[in-house]
Symmetry: C2
Subunit: 292 residues, 2 copies
């Protein structure tokens, strides 16, 4: 333990706006809007306000899978919410999600617009709406729901815990890195044992696989926090096999592209998505890039 | 920032079994069972394996509310899982919940026993099974589901983040305490704004209220981490009002008692619950204690 401390917490916590690391500007102890800004509304019943982080990708992967499976009612407009610039604190976004986190969905298919927030709730809303990507077998469905909730309760240790302290905190604090690395590896081992001899987490490809893939699948594929070696992700062989199978699905690639405005590969960045043909332009970009 | 560090993470993380703070003995980077031990099975269709932590209390509160509302099919046996002694790593428990966390439910009401794990999944399973404590209005139901998932994704910052670093870590690390105190206060403010002028989070008393009450309600009632003053919980007046209303419900008090084996108030400790009459014994204990 090299980070010995003589810190004593005060009686009452107060906000020191100077500290906080890479995301200090977007972490606040206060909820609610910071400015007035309405959300744009496009032509489809489903309006998504998001960003291609793992929590955002979960939903766009599901929407693209629904469309690929023939559920044309899943056509959607996806608007980018730049959380680095505080767009999640605009009044319209806070109305859609009082928690000021992406993704948020507004479903305009009923009598009045319905907000749905938290990625797990959005996935369940869509899976039930279209009767797809939840197992029809009741036992498998219950198992899929357990895994969906597992993802929601586990990933904060990966993202808000491990990822923050390993990649984003202003200093490398040993104790938190150890704490959250241990828990992340335990979670990977939970998945590795569940996927032993199985293609999918719960009977068939479902929202549980998509949700968990967005975090743990992308982690073992080396896409999160430059932590593949540190966590020895290659040792979780069943997770890697499963993650690669999902990654090979065209709908998953499209889902990863939507609302992406970061990374080196510009051909993967579709800032907004309003029509299936929007991907063709990017594919054309990619072909031209490869040819040049 | 008093906890400056010159720590550099190694290339590959390794398990140092010496570190870890209060819960070092139960935090492991490996999943799966550590020993063979079958789970006991009682007389009712619903078999709960749990402990009266906030995640455990969520489910026992719901079961007691279901019984109080006349759903006699919700009769259950509640067996204590002592996580400090590693009971969550027994082979039977791991079979019920591969994530080795309480609570786990085995539902024996179908053709074969059905495992359900993650407290949110268990609550949804029971609410749907009995058609209770989820709003019948579709819009309110969607809103309740958003809040249920909000609880699952938010409480890790309160429990695994703030609670761990403020109350349990081997030293007081300033940066993590600040990070997670800020997030916990933001979450309390999210709830305070949602509950402004409202009795319940989503139209009517639902599993969303019960789940969130178990963490944030008990936090503002001063029951978690001795942190009431530090977080100035009294300033979240709507949350306090809502928490007190829930706390006054007899079913909630019963739910808090089940699988409790810690704290000063012995009359609140019902280690196992197998019949509604089990509470009467404790009530008699309490009367005698008050009389003495």
């Amino acid at each position: 333990m090299t980070d010995k401390t003589d810190y004593t917490p005060p009686a009452v916590w107060t906000w020191d706006t100077e500290s906080g690391g890479k995301f200090a500007s977007i972490n606040r102890p206060i909820a609610g809007p910071t400015h007035d800004k309405e959300l744009p509304v496009g032509k489809h019943p489903l309006q998504l306000y998001s960003l291609a982080t793992p929590n955002g990708v979960k939903v766009t992967v599901l929407l693209e899978e629904l469309l690929a499976a023939g559920h044309s009612g899943a056509e959607y407009d996806a608007w980018i919410i730049n959380i680095g610039e505080g767009a999640q604190f605009g009044s319209g976004f806070v109305g859609a999600n009082p928690n000021s986190k992406i993704p948020a969905l507004m479903d305009h298919s009923g009598d009045s617009p319905q907000r749905v927030f938290e990625s797990g709730a959005i996935m369940l809303h869509l899976a039930e709406k279209f009767g797809a990507f939840l197992p029809s077998d009741p036992s498998d469905r219950t198992e899929a729901m357990s895994w969906l909730f597992w993802q929601m309760g586990s990933a904060p240790y990966l993202g808000g815990g491990f990822g923050h302290f390993y990649a984003y905190a202003p200093e490398k604090f040993e104790y938190p890195i150890n704490r959250f690395a241990m828990e992340t590896k335990r979670q990977l081992d939970v998945l590795d044992r569940q996927l032993d001899g199985k293609d999918w987490l719960a009977g068939e490809y479902s929202i549980a696989d998509m949700a968990i893939w967005a975090w743990y699948g992308q982690l073992v594929l080396g896409r999160l926090y430059s932590a593949a070696e540190f966590l020895d992700v290659a040792s979780y062989k069943n997770v890697v096999r499963w993650a690669e199978a999902i990654d090979a699905r065209p709908a998953v690639t499209r889902g990863r592209m939507v609302n992406r405005a970061f990374g080196d590969d510009l051909s993967m960045q579709l800032r907004e998505r309003h029509d299936a043909s929007d991907f063709e332009t990017k594919t054309q970009d990619k072909l031209e890039e490869n040819a040049s």
